[in-house]
Symmetry: C2
Subunit: 458 residues, 2 copies
């Protein structure tokens, strides 16, 4: 309302100081100004998510994503190339089915589920069994083979809503999805239901990879929506002999050829020193891979595009890498690091954006004391843009394999509150991304790359 | 993906320290834990926005909002009362129409518009005129009566996308809406079109109040969607004689009786010292008033509810005030302050939430040095919850009238990036609010009230 105006005009004055700025502060101002007024990251994301869509490794969408990102980066990179990598090729097949068969009070109840990524399928005969609910691997162990054999294990430990950082809540629950199927199979389970890695009450399931252990039978596994997880748990309190049926048609085909897509601007002074910025091009198959990780891809591309737009010629070599296969294999990240070692490339820093395209809060890092102190000394340059958190450890899955080579790795850190509303679900679509939030992240990443390029890390 | 797990578990440890906490830190932890796991703010917001909906002053929706909030607060307040206040009663009437009549290239072009709040209507005959586009009052003045008389003035200065805080961008443009109609009428304009106070390219217009100056003819005014503002501006570059027609049926009825709704928990030690927390119950008529300001209302109520839930008995008197008529008159805020002065009530602090229900970033304040230093000394207690910004001036429109009484006023400061996607439009609906973001704000406000209650401000 009108009464606000005075305060608002005051804000405007604070936000645009008229006094002279340092060269770094001016460059960063120009980066943000350019992105917010002429940035192309949102338009790029629209193309990637709404015209190409889902991009699971080995799928036609992933191939289209590779071609598109190559063409896109040719608009502003000195050179663009494809780095071949063989990837797992898992397909979901026809729609999953799941139901409670014999509730005394409600009869047959259809359940919202999806197969977990990399799961074996049940085939048309499905799996039927009594359901045993557990909240931990310890509980599973105590029940043992006697109580588990021939049954379906239901992992139902919720994400902890009390964690302020939702990734912490995810970290406290995701072992159920990743390792639960093999843990249950150890005791003779015939199938696994995992409560979706969602933090709210939702009607849709969250997929995501499981990881089968060696030498343990591979049993089929599904995720169930949080709402139906709650319903199933409630039913089980009074109906211990509940029979559950599910049918999945997923399968793993032979590995398929794919690529990391790499764009590069050659450094003018230290061309052998490489700064990588990246996201992963592959996404789960249920939606458009908008926040996971279309936003990280277009933000990484935008770093190079913005440098071009403002006429900045980097001293060091800047690479944007669209990693393939983060979701179910990490083959792209592993291959990129392997090639870097083979070619004895000197990477001085790698930055990944894979926590969604939300308002930036800062950067996480895995770094030695020297580089860490250097990066933290730049905090005042980021504060005007709302980035204040430089304290957490961590970087990104795709750039993790570079760490043994002594590379300083960083993760773009956006606000985490909405990420798990969309993560690995049908809801991860373009319309969930705010143009400004996306752009602020792209500009923040560009500013960080600019500072590392200008000043190095040693 | 799975590789994240190590980092995530690390986060979990950081987020939940096992070492002993100060009593304040423990209380605040309990406040956040309780809200995030058992909070009622989201359910309250769902009722207010989806069952009651739009609540413009004098409307049936506003009356329903008064009744609902009285009932709701009776669940946890010691007492609840209605404070009578007469409010302006403006109604939109039937759907607005607007079109370009004679584009050489495109013929008749329908335009997305809405009447500005408090505007006079054109009636069924509408207004027709040539369009003169300006970007400032200065430009308008230079054109003068000779070029303006009998025409429709089109104020088309955009919000500055380069402002990081979107309220600053709003502050730099909103005078066009608030004061533009009378400025144009000074020179004989017959109508006004204002570019919507939206930051993106959008298809829908933003309403909001104008303020007619005394002794200047009241001319009808509309807001046009940002996309159609751009189209109109483009057309005007080559077609100077463009004729524009618009028709509005809004009118201002006699003032109507309404109420502020006040809930109170009496202080156990200093009952005469009052801490107010509030939002405004009224909203524009185009949607559900979710972020503006349903979220502020339910967060303010939640402060009292949370105190009850955790068994906290405040030393001072806590009041949640649902102010009426912030949008088009501020009568509720003015009356609340008038009554406070009349009754010689001692308000030690007032906190308003009216910048949307997004992730909390901090608090703004209008305070003397002593209280300001006290509040800033609490920053470490808020940092674990992501609130780090305590630097800006400002508080809230409804509590502004308390400031001459020496009351320390504060504003809840959420992330501002998405606010103007919804503000005063059909898009300001319940589904745009994130449950967790809303709850974090409610808990942050409760924590601040708790600290003021515990330690005072002097």
């Amino acid at each position: 309302m009108i009464k606000h105006t005075v305060r608002l005009l005051l804000f405007a004055c604070i936000a645009t100081p008229v006094f002279a700025q340092s060269p770094d502060a001016s460059a960063i101002r120009q980066i943000f100004d350019t992105e917010l007024s002429q940035g192309k990251s949102y338009a790029a994301l629209e193309y990637l998510t709404t015209r190409i869509g889902a991009r699971l490794s080995g799928s036609p969408g992933a191939a289209a994503g590779v071609e598109w990102s190559r063409h896109e980066m040719e608009n502003f990179a000195d050179s663009v190339w494809l780095q071949p990598v063989m990837v797992p090729h898992w397909i979901r097949g026809q729609q999953e089915q799941a139901r409670v068969l014999n509730s005394k009070r409600q009869g047959t109840i259809e359940m919202n589920v999806c197969a977990l990524g990399m799961s074996v399928g049940t085939g048309p005969e499905g799996v039927t069994g009594q359901v045993v609910e557990v909240r931990s691997f310890e509980e599973l162990k105590q029940l043992g083979e006697k109580r588990i054999k021939g049954k379906i294990v239901f992992f139902n430990r919720p994400m902890d809503v009390k964690q302020i950082n939702t990734f912490a809540a995810y970290g406290g629950a995701v072992e159920q999805r990743a390792l639960g199927p093999s843990e249950a199979a150890k005791y003779g389970a015939v199938g696994v239901i995992v409560r979706s890695m969602g933090i709210n009450q939702e009607d849709y399931p969250h997929t995501g990879s499981l990881r089968y252990a060696l030498n343990i039978p591979k049993i089929p596994a599904i995720a169930i929506s949080t709402r139906h997880a709650a319903l199933l748990s409630t039913l089980l309190q009074t109906e211990k002999d509940l029979q559950f049926y599910f049918e999945t048609h997923c399968e793993t085909l032979p590995d398929a050829p794919s690529f990391n897509v790499i764009g590069e601007i050659k450094g003018s002074q230290y061309p052998n020193e490489i700064i990588v910025v990246g996201g992963h091009l592959d996404s789960w198959d249920l939606a458009q891979g908008a926040h996971d990780d279309g936003t990280g891809c277009v933000q990484s591309m935008e770093v190079m595009r913005l440098m071009k737009m403002i006429g900045y010629k980097p001293k060091r070599t800047i690479r944007a890498v669209m990693f393939m296969n983060e979701e179910n294999g990490l083959r792209g990240g592993l291959e990129y690091a392997r090639q870097a070692a083979l070619k004895q490339e000197k990477h001085i820093a790698a930055i990944e954006s894979d926590d969604g395209g939300f308002t930036p809060r800062g950067f996480t890092m895995n770094a030695q004391e020297g580089p860490k102190a250097r990066i933290k000394s730049w905090k005042p340059l980021f504060a005007p843009y709302g980035l204040t958190d430089f304290e957490e450890e961590g970087a990104g899955a795709d750039i993790g394999p570079l760490e043994p080579q002594g590379v300083t790795t960083l993760g773009f850190l956006p606000d985490s509150q909405r990420y798990f509303d969309y993560h690995h679900t049908r809801e991860d679509t373009f319309d969930k991304v705010s143009k400004r939030e996306l752009e602020l992240g792209a500009a923040a990443m560009t500013a960080l790359v600019y500072l590392i390029d200008q000043h190095g890390l040693n």
